[in-house]
Every structure is written in structure tokens, then in C-alpha cells.
Amino acid sequence: MKGWNGRLLRVDMSKGKTAVQEYHEDLARRFVGGRGFAVKLLWDELKPGTDPLSPENILVFATGPLTGHRLPNSGKMVVAAKSPLTGGYGDGNLGTMASPNLRKAGLDAIVVTGKAEKPSYIHIEDGKHEVLDASDLWGLDSFKVEAELKERHGRASGALLIGPAGENLCRVSTVVSQEGRAGGRPGMGAVMGSKNLKAVVVRGTKGLLAHDLDELNRLGKLGYDIILKKDNYGWWKRQGTMAILVWCLEAGTLPTHNFREGVFDEAAAIDGNTMEEMTIKQRGCPNCNMICGNIVVNSEGLESELDYENVAMLGSNIGVGDLKQVATLNRMCDELGLDTIGAGSVVGFAMEATEKGLIDLDIGWGDLEGSKKLLEDLAYMRGMGATLGLGTKAAAKKIGGGASDFAIHVKGLECSAYDCHLCPGMALSFGTSPIGAHHKDAWVISWEITTGRREFYDPEKADKVIEFQRIRGGMFESLVACRFPWIELGFELEHYPKYFETATGIKTSLDELWALGDRIYALIRAFWVREFGGNWYRYVDYPPKRWFDEPLTQGVLKGKHLDREGYDGLLQAYYDKRGWDDRGIPTKATLKRLNLSKEAVELEKFVELS
């Protein structure tokens, strides 16, 4: 089996033991890597109903067959577990030096179970695997821990870390690396924390194997050159994802004041042009020539890495109209290991709950000091932070008084930064995302708006969501490569089957990669259904109530809102096209077609299949 190392590292934190396991070829053939590996391992090994913060939860770090090769944007990895924020499947990807290092240490994935007696970290150096004491690192922010670990284990190593948020089991916590790269929005930081796992440090020095390494390197070099020559490369390098802020403002999709207004008067002060003037340098993931992290100096004189999601959620969504201040909140999140999107949503929710008199907090819209204090309270789960740190869905339930009406989430995961009052297609994308409301799977909003049919609920939109989910959530997340060359610069999809074939020697096509995507989606869906059992129904796939019931209050879209009937029709079209029944559960025939017959037998123990 070329292209994969064929080995994963098992770490039992309770016993402090590690073991290398050669995994079955079927895992690579049917699930390829990254997200595919993660969901298959969780499906096979996690007992349904497991408390996500118990030692029994399984935490997976997984790379794919392209990871670490000199191929465009191949420096990412997937982190996954059962989510303590949603109770379902949770994952995320992040760019980190840990990815190429893991592969060069001869491993494709790490599977962590148990709970260490005291704070610990996993150290991997080629063939050496050990669990080390992290008592002196516990409590440190993610920047300090990384610096310390690199001091100990060498600058060439890669580290995956949590900050205080993960340690204190705050549910809106991520895994962090390289001072600003973060992944695992559905509380993956808390899962690490629950295992007393502060960090994973990896150093690998072996050469990577491939079916035809010379050809792979040649294709990679060609790919990098093509990217450099793309028309909008220059524009991308100037603003990265921040270019879209002004676009969202114009389109009435910029999250403003907890997703209720759609227009932010101070947007010009936090947009891509303002950032360009402030940018002092750029940073990115390994193996990338599109580096998109723009570093600015924040209101406290410290560096902070910005992108659109952070700025919208910690800016317009909470009323902060000063980019330096936004950068201060952003850096705090990165240090504390808070999810910038989730935290921005929780702070906006808290501001609105305070305004409505439902909670007693000293915080108002645009309030920098109040926001800073709340971020700390979230990370340390203290005071009101102990409730809000459970995420908006659970917090709203505890607070009561109608707070659930303005908790902006799907399945418990806070929506990322696109207001969908008048974007049914993007709302469907949030509704059917396999982890809760995240844009990474199907960012159809640009297509939806620029094709000019945003008010319509045509089935064509369900097609587009599925197409994007196949490409982004299926192919990119399991080969494990960044989607940006394709979505942002138009780097052709046809490169990827070629990369895969050259790396592994296995023939494939885009159609086969779409089938892989469909298989992964069906299994993730099965995972959710197995966890929720009889409590699973189609309304779980609905976007936030606010988008239906409270029209936007300002701007070009004033008065607009989603239509329930229209959305439900769109959702049904999505189910029909996927071969899922009207509860949103894959039918027996669909599971069989996707080569998931064995998995169907297991699912039938929990729910009757159509």
C-alpha cells in the first residue's frame, strides 16, 4: 500500500502507554484519510452514548495520502471526536507543522483514549513515542506552551496544543498550532482537556514514500507554478479571506449584532482595505504558497493573525468597529484556545441577553473591556462564563426566557460568519453540515448571491450544496489538502485525482472521489443518528429560528427572512438527492450503494431504516 504509511499510533492516556498499529487496507481504500479515517474509527470503536468528556471518548488526529508531500497546500490535518458541544460527530482541520512531521515519523494518524492522572503531553520523534509530564505547562496559554515545547524538542517539530479553554472544558474551544492556526470548532480543545492532554509534539525525519515520488514532486512543482499565475493571486495575497467582508456587507450577509441587522455602520474600519494598511507580515500553513494569515498589531501592541471569520464574529457581530480592538480579542482567543467563531457568537448572544435583561452582565455592544473579561471567563468557565462556555444552545436553555430564539447555531455548533436571512442555499449548507453550522463543507453563498437567485428555493440549490460537500467536505477533508487553491483561485479540481494516483498507485477519478464524499457523509450522518436514536428528526437540520422569524432590521435586505415552507422543500430535495429518507437518514439502498452494508446492520440496531 504505497502512499500511506499504513500505521497509526494508539495512545492510552490512562495507562500512559503507546502502541503502533498497522491498520487494515480497507480503511485506506474505503475512507482514504483525514475525515474519512476519523469517522470510520469513531463509528467502529466508540460506544454509542459515550459522554464526550469521559475517558472513553476517542480523539483522532488524522492526515491523508497527500499530507506532507510537496503538493499545493498539503500541510493540514483533521482533528475529530464525539463533540461535547453538539453530542454528535465533531471535527476540524488546521494547518500545522505537526502534519508533515507526523507523516515523516511513519504514521498516518494518532488515536487517543483514556485520561491521564496528571497533565501530560504526547511526544513523537520518529520511532520514539512517549507520554510525558505536562504539569509545568498546564495553565499556560497556547503561545507560551508552543514556544516552550519547541525549545525542548527542536524548532522543526510541530505542536498541537490547547489553551486554558480546553483545560477547563469550555465547549467553544479548539486545538491550536503556530500562534493562530486553529481547528476543531465543536469543542475538540475540551476533549483534549478532558484527557489531561495539553499537547502533541511531533518530529519526523524520514522521507515520505509514494508510488512515484519523482512524478509527484514534478506535479507538485507544476501545481505551485499554476497557482502563482492565477489571475487573482495578487489580490488574494493582499487581503486573503478578508476581501469578503465588504462583499458580505453589500450583500446584507455580514453578521451584525448577533445576526439581527445585516448592516454594520463601522464596517469600513474593520474591512480588508483597513487591514491591508495595518498588515506587517503574513503567515501560513506548511507547503503553501498562498499564505493567507495576515498579521497586524493589536490595540495592545501585540501581533494577531486575522481572517474574515474572526473579524466578522469578533467585530461586527459584537459591535466592535475598530480593527485593532478586534485583533486584541482575536489574539486572546488564540492564546486561550477559544474558537474565534464560537466565542464571537457567544459574546454576541451574551450582549443581547444582557440587553434584554435575561442575564446580569456588565457588557454592551462594542464593549472591548467587557468582551475581554467575558472571553477570559469563558476560557476559565467562571461566573457567567461557566454557563456561556457550554455554547449558545445549552446556555440559552439554562437562561430561559426566550433566549433560545436568539441562540445562533445548528445542532449546537454556532454559525460561522454568514447571515442567511436571505440565503436559503447557504442556510441549507449550515443546516446539513456534518458538524453543525460551519461553512467549510459547502460555502455556496458566493455562488448563490452572484447567480442572483437568492430569494428562490429551487432544488438546484440542493444540488449545489451536495456538489460542494462532495468536493470540500469529502475530497479535500480526506485527501487532506486545503480547499483554497480551488475555491479562491480556480486551481483545477482535476489535479487532485492525479495527485492521488501518483501518490498511491490507485486509479481514481473525480466521480470516485465524489462517491467517497457521499460515503463519508452517510457514515457521519449514521453516527449522529446512532447517538440521537429516537430523538433524531428533520428539524435538527433547520437553521437558526431567528432567520425565519425575525426579519433583518436594516439595509438593503430590511424586512427579509427565510420562509419555513420553502426551506423545508429545499431540505426534502436535498434528502431525495442524497438518497436519505424524510427524517434525513440514509436508506438501506443508499448505504448499500455506498459500500456501507455492514455499517447499515449496526445502524439498524438503533433506528428502523427505510
Partner: protein
């Protein structure tokens, strides 16, 4: 009559950001984009920068509504209208 035109993304370096454009009565979105291309000295017919004016490359909004939902490039303009030229966005 006068209309306001707002330009986004990588079309800004090509056309400039905000414009007030004087039009004759009865002019359409198509004639407006021709005028703008002419003013910017663009030679390639039917294009603004790298984007084809018709055909879905470029979103053109009139008072917040995409011209595909109106009469396309034939959509006639009124005094005070606001037109947005929006290339496909990067960001997600």
C-alpha cells in the same frame, strides 16, 4: 439623471471604487457598463477587467437586486439608482 455605482473586489483597481455616473434617460445596465469600460480605457469587448459582463461571472445588483432577476443587461435605470458590480468573492 445620475446613478451611483459601487465596485468591489479586484475590480476596484481597474475601475475605481465609488462613482456617480451621468446617464441619458432610458439608459440600461448594459450601456452603463459600456460607459464605465470606455472611461477606464478597457479594450476587451463585453468584459470588465477579467470578468465577462454577462454570463454569471460578475454579479450586478440594482438597488440590491441581481439583474438576472430583472431584465439582465436590458434593465433600465432610474435617477438615484444604486448599482453594484461584484466579482465572485473569495473568503470561504
Amino acid at each position: 439623471m445620475k446613478v451611483r455605482v459601487r465596485v468591489f473586489g479586484d475590480l476596484v483597481p481597474v475601475l475605481g471604487r465609488n462613482h456617480i455616473v451621468d446617464l441619458e434617460d432610458g439608459e440600461t445596465v448594459g450601456s452603463l457598463t459600456n460607459r464605465m469600460a470606455g472611461k477606464a480605457g478597457l479594450k476587451r469587448r463585453g468584459y470588465l477587467g477579467n470578468y465577462r459582463v454577462s454570463g454569471g461571472d460578475l454579479a450586478i445588483l440594482v438597488n440590491g437586486r441581481n439583474i438576472d432577476l430583472l431584465e439582465g443587461l436590458e434593465t433600465s435605470l432610474q435617477d438615484g439608482d444604486e448599482i453594484v458590480l461584484m466579482p465572485p468573492a473569495a473568503g470561504g
